[in-house]
């Protein structure tokens, strides 16, 4: 059986005795040994060696010149100077010259060193012996004996009370570190369920920053809106707009297939969350004819004429709709918050 070729102690324990061994055939063609060294032209012709020397020195000199060029560029070119360089187009003169001179200064050092090594340094191949990584049995026995002696002297195995309490202490002490992480952030609670929208909040057109009126929304146009009272410079603007951003479109009421969508609309004006239900990108590509919107990040596609259901892509559920109406001033207003959380789904979403 094949296992005879290697000593038993080298076999893994679970293999048993008869199987799982390594069997390899001998090399049929004997190793002829290292081939003789073939001299290079530089080894036998001093003129060629001189040429190599000059080439290396040229590289190093070129590097010096390039470094001077770098310093000169830094001083000469203003930081905002734009020049046209074929085929790169309009580029910053400073960036271009600094990069090229630095690149040449570095590359020439490397090219010089490598050329030096390849042509002038000895290329005679040398063999070095490898040594087994595993310790000899004697060393191993000594280490195991030392370990046993150390363990015995510590009484680690004998005094179990010490051992067990020590394990307990070491297991508990990292908990302090974990506790300290608690204030990294608040608990989720209901934060992801609510947005700034509430009954009576007017829809503010994000282009004009004026309240949106039904007559402003033409069929085929896509308008973005945010809740009244949210200021762009406000401290929590980014957090609020990340949930409250709204897409407004107008569809002929007869073309709205979803009954609830038609009821929550105002004269065919529908408001959906702009935040994709996949992983939260803002959706912004709108096809007027089909009323499809596409998320440019991962291509989830929603049909805004049919309850914004997902018709393609990785999103898992429809975009939440905001129920809207018109207030006494004739402006569009929200009739409440979204009924479900906006944005990506999460465990507690339900």
């Amino acid at each position: 059986m094949s296992s005879q070729e290697i000593p038993d102690e080298n076999l893994p324990a679970e293999q048993g005795t008869a199987h799982g061994a390594v069997e390899v055939a001998d090399d049929p063609f004997a190793d002829p040994g290292l081939p003789a060294h073939k001299p290079r032209i530089q080894d036998i012709d001093e003129r060629a060696a001189k040429r190599s020397e000059r080439a290396v020195a040229f590289m190093f000199t070129l590097s010096m010149l390039a470094t001077i060029g770098f310093i000169a560029s830094y001083v000469i070119f203003p930081v905002d100077k734009i020049v046209y360089i074929w085929p790169f187009g309009h580029v910053s003169a400073l960036n271009f010259s600094l990069g090229l001179t630095l690149g040449v200064a570095l590359f020439a050092i490397g090219a010089g060193a490598v050329h030096w090594a390849r042509t002038l340094m000895s290329d005679v191949e040398v063999a070095d012996d490898r040594h087994a990584i595993e310790a000899t049995p004697e060393v191993k026995a000594k280490v195991l004996a030392d370990f046993a002696a150390g363990a015995e002297e510590s009484a680690f195995g004998r005094r179990k009370l010490i051992r067990n309490t020590m394990f307990g202490a070491l297991a508990l002490v990292p908990l302090s570190g974990v506790m300290l992480l608690r204030d990294l952030g608040p608990l989720p609670e209901k934060k992801l369920r609510n947005t700034l929208w509430a009954k009576g909040k007017q829809l503010i057109n994000m282009n004009t920053m004026e309240p949106l009126r039904p007559e402003d929304v033409a069929v085929g146009s896509l308008t973005f809106a945010m809740p009244e009272g949210l200021e762009e410079g406000a401290h929590d603007f980014q957090n609020q707009i990340a949930k409250a951003a709204l897409m407004i479109i107008r569809i002929e009421p007869d073309n709205i297939k979803d009954k609830r969508e038609r009821e929550w609309a105002h004269e065919g004006i529908v408001a959906f969350s702009k935040i994709c239900t996949h992983v939260g990108c803002p959706i912004s590509l709108y096809e007027q004819q089909t009323h499809h919107v596409l998320c440019p990040c991962h291509q989830s596609t929603f049909d805004l004429s049919d309850g914004a259901r997902v018709i393609f892509g990785p999103a898992g559920h429809a975009l939440p709709q905001l129920r809207i109406g018109v207030n006494s001033e004739g402006n569009l207003e929200a009739l409440g918050d979204f009924e479900e959380p906006v944005g990506p789904a999460f465990w507690e979403r339900g």
Binding site: L106, G110, V114, W116, D128, G185, V279, P282, L285
Partner: protein, 541 residues
Amino acid sequence: MSTATDTQRKAPAGERVADWADGRLGIYSLAKANMRKIFPDHWSFMLGEIALYSFIIIILTGVYLTLFFDPTMSEVVYHGSYEPMQGIRMSQAYASTLDISFDVRGGLLVRQIHHWAALIFLAGMFVHMMRVFFTGAFRKPREINWLFGFLLFVLGMFTGFTGYSLPDDLLSGTGVRFTQGAILSMPIVGTYISMFLFGGEFPGHDFISRFYSIHILLLPGIMLGLLVAHLILVFYHKHTQFAGPGRTNKNVVGMPLMPVYMAKAGGFFFLVFGIIAIIAAIATINPIWNIGPYRPDQVSTGAQPDWYMGFAEGLIRVMPGWEINLWGHTLVLGVFIPLMAFGLVLAIIAVYPFVESWVTGDKREHHILDRPRNAPTRTAFGVAWITEYVVVFIGGANDLWATHFHLSLNAISWFVRIFIFVGPVIAFVATRRICLGLQRRDKEKVLHGRESGIIKRLPHGEFVEIHEPLGPEQLHTLTAHEQYKPVEIGPTVDKNGVERKVPALQKLRARLSKGYYGEDNQIAKPTAEEYKEITSGHGHH
């Protein structure tokens, strides 16, 4: 007289400094083992060097960038020298990145070197890993170093991600949002991790400064440690080499560290740095001034992560949007499965060395590299893995494929959904056949010699091509590889006729072993007898 000789022959200054250091650091013993250490030569051994040198370049340029970058999210109105952004609200982080690009002389260059070097670092690690994989360099004693390298690759991905998120531009912010959405998909803990990572709701005011300490301290610190350990092990194990005349499993043939590899490897650092500097001079990368500051309600089309995250991007794009709602909870499989698959595909390549050594049962050290063709199943598995990676990667850019090649985006997504499963299988089968074909060709060459291209006409009119026999060096090189015999389960009935229970794991191992080394899965090496039989024949080519 000792005093007289001391004054007569005073050691040169360099030697005296070395003596001083040796008395404190033991440098002579260190140099004895390492100064003339032999390294073998092969072009593929330099791929890891590219990764190493780009890492050094990243650290150098990164330190420079920290001098100017301001990692805070407090909002400012821009009044800097870049006209198109005048009066626009942005975070301090974005504004300071604009300043580095437009006001600090050379700042743009260093930023671009830093970013290009990061892309090349990851690419260097990837191809280096493939080199190690396909040549079997991960085998004992180098399995641990394979894991170190794998960890460096994974940590490199996250260091890159936290790095390109720092400027707080519209593109990177979108990537962070994607990450936050993926975190939310984790059952039970998702919302908590999100709240803790972002200090509240997304985007909050904390993540830039937190990513900053992760990017410049935590991850690079761990990576530096791993890198040093990786290099120490390379020195300790000594480098692998390909089979060849004079090259055995017990030696290492090549040229000494001093002077040849000091010049070659040291020079190569400058070559890599020089080329990256030139790339940074002529090719813009991450022009955040075109993209604009991040706002969670804005986005641009064609949003793509850096290349090494394209794999994650692809998984999330092509996954169907499965969601399970039960008992008031949502299991967001459409996002959570890609998140798990991301880790799983990476983990498979990490544990591969241990699987292979379990299948072969080989506990010996291996210092001679395999040619990929001589390990057909391993090579096929590697190619299948790369195919999976590439297919998903294509899915990560499905919008760009659609717009650039005028294809249907939906069709590309469906192609990817199917080829995630089919692609690796096709690649596996095809690669194995190619490997076996190449093995047959090697055998043919050994037995019948090299095709010389000379056509001879025999007296009776037949044309034959003259084959030149290979020299002993080539014969040895082509037949130096080892071939395993498949593992046998052995008789299922013991000598008393009682049925022996074979553990399922052992059966699996035997099946895998047959798949690796069975009759049809490797071409038996030519034997010396076969060779003699053919060559002793009367001049029959």
